[in-house]
Structure formats: C-alpha cells, structure tokens
C-alpha cells in the first residue's frame, strides 16, 4: 500500500461557465457522454494506488455528493480510509465560503491530522488529466524535493490573465513562478497538482492562514521559491490535458474527445476512468438514423441525424431531427424536425418540434437544465 493520501479541492471560480455551473461545481460538470470532471481526478489517484481521498466541497455541492456517493465506483468504500466528503461548515473562524484553497485546507485540518499517510497529493478540479500518480510520487521521492508541482508544456493550457506558469532549470528546480500574468512568459503551465509531506502541508497552511493569506500559488509556493527555504521541483506530465474554465473550453474538450487519438489518449485500458453507473440499456439506433463522428452513451434512442456530437445517457433524437456539433446531456430530447447546431443542452433540456437553434461555433448556445425550447 502506498503511503499517500489525496485531496481534491473543488472550489474554483466558474463565472465563465455560465448556466452550466449554476447548480453544480466544475468538478461535477458532465463531460464526454458519461463522466463528470471529478471522475478523471479521482480515477487518476485510485489508479496510482491512493486509497484515502478527501474531496473539499464548496458551493452547490449537492450534485457532486450525489455523484460520488459512498465512493463505491472507485473502490473507495472500504473500512480503512476511502472517500471523505468534506463539505464547508460553520465555525467561529470559518464562515463556510472559502476565499481560497488555503482557507479550505485550514478548515479541514482535522482531516489532515487524522490521516495516517506521510505524503499528500493536492489537486484542483478544473483541469482534466489522466496522470500516472505513481510516477509523480516516484519523482517526488527520488528528487528529494519538499514540494513537487505537476506541469505541462501543452500550449492550449495557457491563458491570458489566469493560470500559474513555471520557469524550471535543468535540474527540474522551479526558479520562477508567475501567477495570473497578463501574458504568460513561461511555457510550463502548472496543472494545479502538487505533492508534499502531510506535515509540511499542515504547517504551511496553518502559517499562511494565520497571516491572512488565501492563495496557495501566490502566497505559499511563490514565496517558497523566492525565499529558497524549500526545494520546489517540477515534474512534467506528458499526457493529454484540458483546462475547463469557460463554455468554450468545455465545448472544446468534448469535441476533442470525438477524435479517437484524443479519446484513446485519455481513456486508457491500463488507467480506466470510473464513474457512477446508471444501468441503462445499450443505445438504440433506429432504422433511418444517420450518425457520424459522435460518441454516444447507453440509454440513448436515436432516430434522426447526429453529426460531430456528444450524447449523454438517455438522450432521445427523434426522426428527422438534426443535431450538429452539439453536446446533449443526460435525458435531453430533440423532437421531430428540429435542427440544432453548436448548442450545449444541459440535463433534461428539450428542443420541441421544428425548432431551429444555431449558435456561433466560437460561442455555443447553452440551454440550461430542464428548459424547454
């Protein structure tokens, strides 16, 4: 058994995700026909041998709790450790809404104290990846670093005015950190996944919060790098990853998965992504349906035309309906004669007969949950 625990923080800002995150955290966003963002993070940890995982909840965490349940789907429902849901709570020093990850960790100090593992992996939840956690841990141990940050050279992960970027020397030491620069000057994007000793995390968090600080990147890691009080190393992640921080990036991830190169890169036989099952029957394709370049989940019933789209479980596409470049979440329906293009239908949304809805490719239309058009 590995001497490592995991913590996933799900409280990132989500303003740019519009209607999609009104009722849920980014971590709970449905993606790729049958998953939620958090499935990738939890599965990565589980596949890397981590058996004690805490998920820090922030706002709108009902759907996330509902999804994770007892942790059974990830084999995290054992007696020793397993999945720990850590919702916000009110205490004298904690008002329930965390200004930053440091405050969230400070509030859950007890979870850190109670856990027995020596090392902790902390991950945010707005980047989708499928990382070999055991390799990251090996790097961390062998390099003797106090802190190891996971980073990628993937250009598409860079953003203006947001994100954390690293300068790294030839020994994988982090020599400079930029947080939310207008234009990132380093090519290494920090993936918001870090490893350190549990005791060190507790100490750093405690000190930082006591000084009124909130940001892990700016107030802790950057400080450590600048002062040189700790060895901060960086480990490169060479796999595929996507930042889910806007409707466009959410749309892009789903569309990217239509390319078998991408789907085979992120869904790997040796590192399966687990999710909650719904026991739907297989998808049914009708006599006159026409489906190309799409991924489809169980329980769908398709009679019409579907092109370059992502259909979640239980979606119904009526005869003569036409769906192009769309994401249709669980139990969505497109009725006869309707035409939709560049749309994202949230759960149970319905497009009635003969409606036409065409969004610009660069700015897909989002139809909120339960809305009937």
């Amino acid at each position: 058994m590995k001497d490592v625990m995991g913590i996933i923080y799900t409280g990132e800002g989500d303003a740019q995700l519009r209607e999609l995150t009104i009722t849920r955290a980014i971590a709970a966003l449905p993606v790729a026909s049958r998953y939620r963002v958090i499935d990738f993070l939890v599965s990565s940890m589980v596949n890397g041998g981590i058996k004690n995982i805490g998920v820090i909840m922030q706002k709108n965490y009902h759907s996330l709790m509902d999804h994770l349940g007892s942790g059974k789907e990830w084999d995290l429902h054992g007696k020793i450790d397993g999945l720990h849901i850590l919702p916000p709570f009110l205490t004298r020093e904690n008002v329930g809404i965390y200004p930053g990850v440091l405050d969230a960790l400070r509030s859950n100090t007890n979870f850190l104290i109670r856990s027995k593992q020596e090392t902790v992996v902390l991950s945010n939840s707005s980047i989708i990846y499928n990382a070999k956690m055991d390799e990251l841990l090996k790097f961390h141990q062998e390099s003797g670093a106090d802190l190891t940050l996971l980073y990628t050279k993937d250009e598409s992960m860079k953003r203006n005015e947001s994100g954390t970027y690293l300068a790294i020397d030839e020994n994988q030491n982090v020599v400079d950190i930029e947080v939310d620069p207008t234009h990132p000057s380093h090519d290494n994007t920090y993936m918001q996944v870090l490893v350190m000793k549990r005791e060190l995390m507790r100490e750093l968090v405690d000190k930082a919060v006591a000084h009124g600080l909130h940001s892990m990147d700016r107030d802790v890691i950057q400080q450590l790098v600048r002062d040189g009080h700790a060895t901060v190393k960086a480990c490169e992640y060479k796999g595929l990853c996507w930042r889910i921080d806007s409707v466009q990036s959410f749309f892009k991830f789903n569309m990217d998965i239509l390319d078998p190169k991408n789907s085979k890169g992120i869904f790997r036989d040796d590192m399966p992504i687990f999710t909650k099952v719904r026991d739907e029957m297989p998808a049914y394709y009708g006599d006159h349906c026409n489906v190309i370049n799409s991924i489809v989940a169980d329980g769908c019933q398709i009679e019409g035309t579907v092109e370059n789209s992502v259909l979640f479980r239980g979606v119904k596409i009526a005869p003569n309906a036409h769906v192009k470049n769309c994401i249709i979440m669980q139990d969505g329906q497109v009725h006869e004669g309707a035409y939709i293009e560049n749309c994202i239908l949230d759960k149970q949304a319905i497009i009635k007969r003969n409606s036409r809805l065409i969004g610009p490719q660069a700015y897909p239309i989002v139809i909120a949950k339960d809305v009937v058009v």
Binding site: P260, F274, V277, D279, P282, A283, N293, I295, D298, V310
Partner: protein, 394 residues
C-alpha cells in the same frame, strides 16, 4: 444471528446448457452474455431486487469461475447487504458424504442449512435460463392469498407447442389438478416456467422425503410436484403474460437478442421502475466514426464502429473496422470484426477476431457461431449453422 426473511430465493444455475453448443464450453449458461450488456442471470437477479427479495442463493456446479466472478459481492444488484444478499452455493464436502448436485431438488436439499439460517416462510425457486421481467412479490401475494403449499408460474403457450412443455391442468380457481410432462395430447396450454414458490415447511418435508427415495431423480418437475399433487396438497398456477423467452438454444438466444430491436420492444428495457442491473465494464462511451452506417442496432460502451452495422447487437468493446459489415448478428464483448469481413445471422462469442475479408454466416439458414477467443484467419468462410471452436479446421 440472522434476522428472519419472509422469502428467500434459490437460483438454479448449475446446468451446462449443452444446447448452446460452444457458447457454454467455458461458461455456465446463466453467465452467457445477452442484449448488449447483460448476462442471462441479470434478469432473475434484477427481478429479485425489484421485487424486494434481497436474499438469493445461486446454486452453481458447471464451469462456475466466470459466473462467480460476475456475481462477486452482488453490488450491481444491490445484493451486497449485511442481512441477506447474494450467495454462491457450490456443492461441498460434508462429514459423511459429499457429492455433486444430482437434480434440481437435490441441489436445494443440500443447501437446506443455508435456507434455515433465515427461517423463511416461503422459498422462491428460479432458474437462469430465461429472459423476462416478473414481479415475484405479486406471485408471492397470490400464493399467500390462495393459502397454497406451492405456486407454479405458468404461461399460455401456443397449443401446437404445448406438447414440448410441462403442462399444468387447472380448475376454474387456478388450482392445479394434474401435471403432465410433455403430454402427447395436452389438455391445457399452461406451461410451467420453472418458477416456483413453496411454503418452506412443506418444501422441507417433501425434499427430505424425496431424498429417502433411492429411485427418485430428485427433480422438481419429475418428483416434488407430482408427489405433492399425489398428497392432495394445494398447488396453484400463477399466470404470467409478459415477455418470456427461453434462451436455451443458439437459435432462441439469437432470436431473443433480435427481439430487443423490435419497435416497440416486446420487453420494456427502458422502464426506470424495473431496471435490469448488470455489472458495468466501465468503458468509455462508444464511437461512431465518419463513414460508418448504423441502423436498427443496439450499441454499448467501448464500441468503435467504422464499418456498417444493421439489425444487430454489439456488446462492450466491440470494434467494427472500416469496410466490415455486420448484419442480423450478435457480437459479444471485446470481439473485433476486421476490415472487409462480412458477418450475417451469426453469434460471435467474446474476444473473437474475425479476420479481414472473412465471411461468417449466411443471409438465410441457421445461425453461425464463432466461439470465445477464436481468431478466424483472413478470407475464410463459415457457413450457416456452423460452430467454430479450436477444433475447427479452415
């Protein structure tokens, strides 16, 4: 101490199902894949869960490995509970004896101690041979209402086929007055479904008596039911009218799969109040590529379709390569149909590979079968009705 249960189910899953030919060479019949993501046993197990019966003994004997692994802790059917749940019951050695299950009744007899743990009032006897959705609780209420000692589920079969079944002759009050196994001149068309509810005290008595009879074949249909009738016990017939399909032969297994493609589906698999649960393979959603054509077909997780598929059922992880064509066929988990191959009216078992340009089955005639793990070389032909296993020479 286990708490008392009103009704305990015993599922007879020990048969080989030899009429399924090479499909049951390495697996017991209840573990045979069905309907794109299920195995036959998912139906009786899900029926139990949906009927509120949470204690199920599964009696295994023939090739149990895959079946045992599939049942596991019972979690997919919510049968991983502390007071009850699902239990695999293989034959076992006892102090003075130890033997295989000799017949259906003997299998239950050998597991009386399991049943007694729950001190049940009733015992439900099931088999793992059929595709159907049935509310066993409604049948139990019927049993109680009639003050019966045994209730046998029956369904009306076409008169011309009645002589192939065990037929129940009943009076106007559903009481069984006579039971005839495969009668030449049937007096009724009510065929036994092999689903029984017994009042446990009675069944215990008859099982014990039956064991003493050295000439008995220890079978419910041949011995227990006739003996109870002979003693004027109250046996009633519970009529079931829903979809019910025996999948004991290659042809009927193929037909039952094809039934799921009918509109409307003869068995409602979308009913959210009566889901059929299955162990989930946990694969990514399936992908239909550009240039693929799909019609009248069921497709599930992990499949990749680049070729043409019509009127077929694809199980998890099946790959249909470019230019391959699959028609009226059942392709079981993990199989690959290579470029340009043509598969018609066939069942391709798990993890088989149909080589490029190979031709399996014909448009008409009997169903062709390619066995588990077989790799069919490129370009070979398999005629209608042929079964391909390791001994097949190309």
């Amino acid at each position: 101490m286990l708490r008392k249960k009103t009704c305990v189910a015993m599922l007879l899953a020990g048969g080989q199902g030899s009429r399924l030919g090479i499909l049951t060479k390495n697996v017991a019949k209840p573990a045979v894949p069905f309907g794109g993501k299920y195995r036959i046993i998912d139906f009786p197990l899900s029926n139990c869960t949906n009927s509120g019966i949470d204690t199920v003994g599964v009696l295994t004997q023939y090739q149990p490995l895959e079946l045992n692994a599939y049942i596991g802790s019972g979690a997919p059917w919510d049968l991983d509970i502390s007071n009850g749940g699902v239990f695999v019951l293989p034959p076992y050695q006892k102090a003075k004896s130890g033997e295989w299950y000799r017949g259906t009744a003997n299998a239950i007899y050998q597991n009386m101690a399991f049943i007694e743990q729950y001190n049940p009032d009733y015992v439900l006897i099931l088999s793992g041979d059929h595709i159907y959705k049935m509310d066993y609780n409604a049948m139990l209420n019927f049993h109680i209402r009639h003050g019966a000692d045994a209730t046998i589920a029956v369904r009306e079969v076409p008169w011309e086929e009645a002589s192939r079944f065990g037929i129940m002759n009943t009076d106007s009050e559903d009481r069984i007055i006579e039971f005839e196994e495969k009668p030449k001149n049937p007096k009724s068309n009510k065929a036994s479904m092999g689903v029984y509810i017994f009042t446990w005290d009675k069944l215990r008595h008859y099982l014990t008596e039956d064991e003493k009879d050295k000439k008995s074949s220890n079978d419910f249909g041949k011995n227990i039911i006739p003996n109870m009738l002979g003693d004027k016990q109250v046996l009633v017939a519970y009529s079931f009218n829903g979809y019910w399909k025996d999948v004991g032969t290659i042809e009927s297994l193929w037909e039952a799969n094809m039934d799921l493609l009918e509109t409307p589906m003869p068995i409602d698999m979308h009913d959210k109040k009566w889901r059929i649960f299955a162990r989930n393979p946990g694969m990514p959603p399936h992908y239909i590529a550009k240039g693929a054509t799909v019609s009248d077909t069921l497709i599930t997780e992990g499949c990749e379709v680049y070729g043409h598929v019509s009127h077929s059922v694809l199980f998890a992880g099946v790959v249909i390569e470019e230019g391959a064509s699959v028609e009226s066929s059942v392709i079981m988990p993990g199989s690959v149909i290579k470029r340009g191959a043509v598969v018609r009216r066939s069942i391709v078992a798990e993890n088989a590979v149909i080589g490029a340009g190979a031709i399996v089955g014909e448009e008409e005639g009997n169903v062709a079968v390619v066995g588990q793990g077989i790799t069919l070389p490129a370009g070979v032909s398999v005629a209608a009705g042929q079964q391909v296993d390791e001994s097949f020479t190309f």
